[in-house]
Symmetry: C2
Subunit: 108 residues, 2 copies
DNA sequence: ATATAGGGTAAGATAATATTTACCTGGATA
DNA sequence: TATCCAGGTAAATATTATCTTACCCTATAT
């Protein structure tokens, strides 16, 4: 049992939000700094951080840490990791099998 | 302006739920009655109705009305309409263009 | 001292979803 | 009469999501 339904829902929920979808779109072609994203999206810092964290946790976004030695400042640059999330016939068939209980490990 | 972000989020939100995803999976290969779905999913009638309505409204699910003349009863049979929802590079690029404001109609 | 930039956390308000129980319609059946 | 079936609705509650303000720390510049 792989819990396909749970994992799929988790990813879809992460994508089903205008801010997070916009972040992925903005970081697609080139990396973006936190400040840049906040200015474009017009949201507060804690909110942006929460959204970024969620995307990173699911592997949909990655970041590079840049250490500015002169200013003793750590900056992060975000970039989208495309994972081609697709709700198609194949996925639905897998879910149907999970519901039917096919592939359950027999009790030991 | 087509409001891609809004429409995409709406569809993804509809998919980002274990019950609705299960309904689509169950009605994929053959149509299912309301009762059948409720027994498999183990949820209340009003809840199932709400989920069904939402999927139908977005065109992800369709139903056939069967009128049993002898019993004077109307029954509905649901079937999944596959629409191949895909969050890929192309979609993100479109969203990025929407954010950048490309293709806005000039003020008249 | 104060402001700015960067990366945070904590608490709390508000809004949206998910879900339940109780009830209504109409006809068939025990 | 009472119960079951089908398809609902209404209202209340519970759980999540979303978002803001107010803070903390470090270092640089004014």
């Amino acid at each position: 049992m792989e819990e396909i339904i749970g994992r799929t829902v988790e990813v879809l929920k992460a994508l089903a939000n205008p801010v997070r979808l916009s972040i992925l779109a903005l970081c697609l072609k080139h990396e973006r700094s936190s400040r840049e994203l906040r200015e474009i999206l017009g949201i507060s810092k804690p909110l942006l951080i929460a959204h970024l964290r969620r995307l990173v946790a699911l592997g949909l976004l990655e970041y590079r840490v840049d250490f500015d030695e002169r200013r003793m400042i750590v900056k992060k640059y975000y970039r989208t990791r495309i994972k081609e999330i697709c709700v198609d016939r194949g996925l639905l068939e897998e879910i149907a099998r999970e519901i039917a209980g096919v592939g359950e490990e027999p009790s030991p």
